[in-house]
């Protein structure tokens, strides 16, 4: 396992000299500008990364969708669009659900499709009222499975006090879907006068999360079975309208913004806030609730739980003087018993999320690049 060693590498001095005299600070400021630059999409073809919720998704949304559909409601990239129709303040949102497997501990795609859209309305400060559901079904999909999914949607709709009033069904050739995809859209009523928005975070504000993070994403990843992991975890899927209403009741206009921490997890939501509000956010890693099973699986797979999706947790930004009331209100709600203050908003470094690590160090917590893939290095 040893032998003569020879080297045939490139000359190195030239490279080293090329940047001589440039300070680290100057370079890093240039890099920071590049970081903030408008996203571009360079690939010719979509990869899985474009759907993972991180930087590639952001590029896709900004470079393709916002570019074409430019209008203020969409550009806000809020969980739900704020509309006013004939004087009535509405919220309107949609999400497509393509989860695999379709059934997992703690839920299924049907429950997810209802709760996810209910939650996007709820975190927009609206009362969820009506949903639509478009089904794309694969030829050969089991009618019993479909019935189970639909029954689960009905139960979730009942629990969330919404009605599914419009629907559509398409069947595609075998091999052109993964069993069942569902797209729900939701209409809610913005009953309260004050507006929420991730661009409303202000330095000094306090950041809360409503419960332990990453349960859903880790449950689903493990339920796929490829990793051969067994763990006693359940998806956190739940309708958040009750918890968000409780928070709004307690703090009123003290609530600046809420966002459910779905694809991309809490870290992604925080980055979205930092970008939209042009603020910095400092998060205390130790304060973020993570269940041991999620932590264990995350360590094994080399994944950071802060990037793992939840389907029944949200991040809230509240004014400094509302922080105590907010935490108390959340903790009184069954879905917020483990709510925690996890950080605060700062004016600098704008656009960035910093993590104060459990170890006492500091690092950037950026948007994810690509999927959170299990890794071995």
């Amino acid at each position: 396992m040893s032998g003569e060693v020879t080297i045939d590498g490139p000359v190195t001095e030239a490279g080293a000299k090329a940047v001589a005299g440039v300070s680290e600070q100057a370079v890093m400021e240039r890099v920071a500008r590049a970081r903030r630059a408008r996203a571009r999409i360079r690939e010719e073809r979509l990869t899985m990364a474009h759907g993972a919720g991180g930087k590639a998704t952001q590029s896709l949304v900004e470079a393709v969708f916002l570019e074409a559909f430019h209008n203020p409601q969409l550009a806000a990239l809020d969980d739900a669009a704020a509309l006013t129709v004939a004087g009535t303040r509405l919220a309107f949102t949609t999400d497509s659900y393509v989860v695999s497997p379709l059934f997992f501990p703690g839920g299924d795609i049907g429950e997810l499709a209802v709760n996810g859209t209910v939650n996007d309305l709820a975190v927009a400060g609206a009362r969820p009222l009506f949903l639509s559901a478009g089904f794309i079904l694969e030829e050969g999909f089991g009618v019993a499975d479909l019935t189970r999914i639909v029954t689960s949607m009905a139960a979730a709709a009942k629990a969330a006090d919404v009605r599914i009033v419009a629907g559509d069904t398409k069947v595609v050739q075998r091999g052109q879907a993964d069993g069942c995809y569902i797209t729900t859209a939701g209409v809610g009523l913005r009953e309260r006068a004050h507006d929420l928005g991730v661009d409303r975070a202000r330095p000094g504000d306090v950041v809360l999360v409503s419960g332990p993070v990453g349960d859903h994403g880790m449950t689903v990843l493990i339920a796929r079975g490829d990793l051969d992991l067994q763990v006693d975890l359940r998806s956190d899927t739940a309708p958040l309208h009750g918890a968000t209403a409780a928070l709004l009741d307690a703090c009123g206009a003290g609530v600046r913004a809420m966002r459910d921490a779905t694809r991309g997890g809490v870290a992604t939501v925080l980055n979205e806030i930092a970008r939209a509000a042009e603020v910095g956010i400092v998060v205390d890693e130790e304060a973020v609730p993570v269940r041991p099973g999620v932590r264990g699986a995350a360590e094994l797979l080399g994944i950071d739980p802060l990037y793992v999706a939840c389907e029944g947790r949200f991040v809230a930004v509240v004014a400094p003087d509302a922080a105590d009331a907010a935490l108390a209100a959340l903790r009184r709600h069954p879905l917020g018993e483990q709510a925690a203050v996890i950080g605060r908003v700062d004016d600098d470094p704008a656009h960035l999320v910093l993590l104060r690590t459990r170890f006492g160090g500091t690092r950037i917590m950026d948007l994810l690049v690509g999927d959170p893939l299990p890794r071995i290095c």
Binding site: M1, V5, I7, D8, G9, D226, V282, L354, G361, T362
Partner: protein
Amino acid sequence: MRFVDEFRDAEQARALAARIAARCEPGRTYKFMEVCGGHTHTIYQHGLEDYLPEQVELVHGPGCPVCVIPMGRVDDAIAIARRPEVILTSFGDMMRVPGGDGSFLDAKAAGADIRMVYSPLDALKIARQHPDRQVVFMAIGFETTAPSTAVTVLRAKAEGLTNFSVFCNHVTILPAIKAILDSPDQRLDGFLGPGHVSTVIGCEPYRFIAEQYGKPLVVAGFEPLDILHSIDMLLAQLAEGRCEIENQYSRVVPWDGNPTALKVLGDVLELRPFFEWRGLGFISHSALRLTEAYADFDAERRFDVPGVRVADPQSCQCGEVLKGVLKPWECKVFGTACTPETPIGTCMVSPEGACAAYYNFGRFRRQRLLQVTAR
């Protein structure tokens, strides 16, 4: 988590930091190379440099398996994957590594059947499930990972599988360290030795570093306290005028390594005469391939591998970074043209890569950060 959380304690970190600071002689700087990308990752993930005095500089070594794969090997793997009968299996780490014409992720998007596995044994499982397909495992990694590949090949042979093979890219760490030590432009004061490689090869093989090159090496664990502790041990050696191989990570690394693993490895794999390393060029006896006895499981023999050679992009300075000659930010394209989303060099791809760690977790405006977070 046992054996993890104990080594992430902030209070003990402060104590070690104080000790490290106290050991530094005024006016002297210390430059240590963490050989291993895992160390780099730990350093940034935990914000460990916040605990280090300015006098101590850590430079990143070549020990990231993903970072050292030359672009041509990625292209070769993609060429294999494009064959309709082939399922290429790979660790998640490889998916975004750019070859001369895109990454595995791009090739997958363009239709190649490339699947992620967590273990080489998962690739074997896929081979059993798809007897009509050829399943190729893209093996990467240092001596840590190579024994797992070897066991997998042994198992494939025992099961008589004819549709499994390995595209072997395993490399060995010692020639790379030697290459760096031989490099004329390098001034290092010591090494943090690769903890997990050492579980297999033990600590003895590093002796030449101390004896022939006069550099101390401490085999270091991967928790942040392990690294601070190892730095403290290196500083102690320097202060005391010693130059030794020490083992900070003794809870995991036996001095003599894992003899069973070494035996399996020696049975199934052998040194190649030469292998190309990204940025470092060809290094003799620095990589492994399957021995003649397991030739049937060697993808390079089973398939017509093009053997692509791709020159690194003009702007790429991964070689300098891998040798510790340049800090990531000193590369001309760092953070602008080369980012984790659009990596030019491999150091920007793996979270272990020096450039990616630097970019993702940031060290910039370090004083400012300290200020902000201390409020």
